[in-house]
């Protein structure tokens, strides 16, 4: 499709289980971002990929969170041993170039709603 695609759109998981969230950015976009949106917390930056460079992981909340981007395109965010506080909407976004290059517009996916019970 033409936009950023995320899957699953909704995920309910039991506490302690691992989950994988997938993001397919807009074709040709070199930069990819993951954010977490929680009620009352706004948009929390998690991780940023620029092309094939090592990602900026400074926003990951704990070592249970990891992300990879294969071939400079699709990205997977993995949360291990999920906790109830991980419940949130996980948003993926992409831009043609990264923020280091210029003030490029970033385009968001619809998000993956994660509920940990």
């Amino acid at each position: 499709g033409a936009g950023v695609s995320q899957s699953p759109s909704n995920k309910v998981t039991e506490k302690g289980k691992d989950v994988e969230l997938r993001c397919d950015p807009i074709s040709g976009h070199t930069a990819l971002y993951w954010y977490r949106q929680s009620l009352g917390q706004g948009l929390e930056f998690l991780i940023y990929f620029q092309g094939n460079s090592a990602p900026d992981k400074s926003g990951l909340p704990s070592d249970r969170f990891s992300a990879e981007r294969t071939g400079g395109s699709v990205s997977t965010l993995t949360i291990q041993r999920t906790q109830q506080e991980d419940s949130a909407v996980y948003l993926c976004a992409s831009s043609l170039e990264g923020p280091r290059r210029s003030g490029n517009t970033i385009y968001f996916g619809e998000g993956s709603w994660l509920t940990v019970v």
Partner: protein, 111 residues
Amino acid sequence: AQSVTQLDSQVPVFEEAPVELRCNYSSSVSVYLFWYVQYPNQGLQLLLKYLSGSTLVESINGFEAEFNKSQTSFHLRKPSVHISDTAEYFCAVSSPFGIIFGKGTRLHILP
């Protein structure tokens, strides 16, 4: 480090009244500034952005924002709101270090 502060978590306003959503940022380097909007049950989308040049930028649906470097602000305004403007609005700052968002302001339009 950069940060973005949206002073109001919610703003109620009557239909056809003016509105201002406040945004302040802090940064030690030059920045680009954005407002994104999230309508109910939809994803985030760009409303307007300031990169350089004129400090007043406008969107196609009547919103405008003014970059004020001395006050480190980028407040969003609309002279007359409509029910369709009901949404959450996010201010964001882009710098060489990444894109940071504020916590958002929910705009409630009262009939």
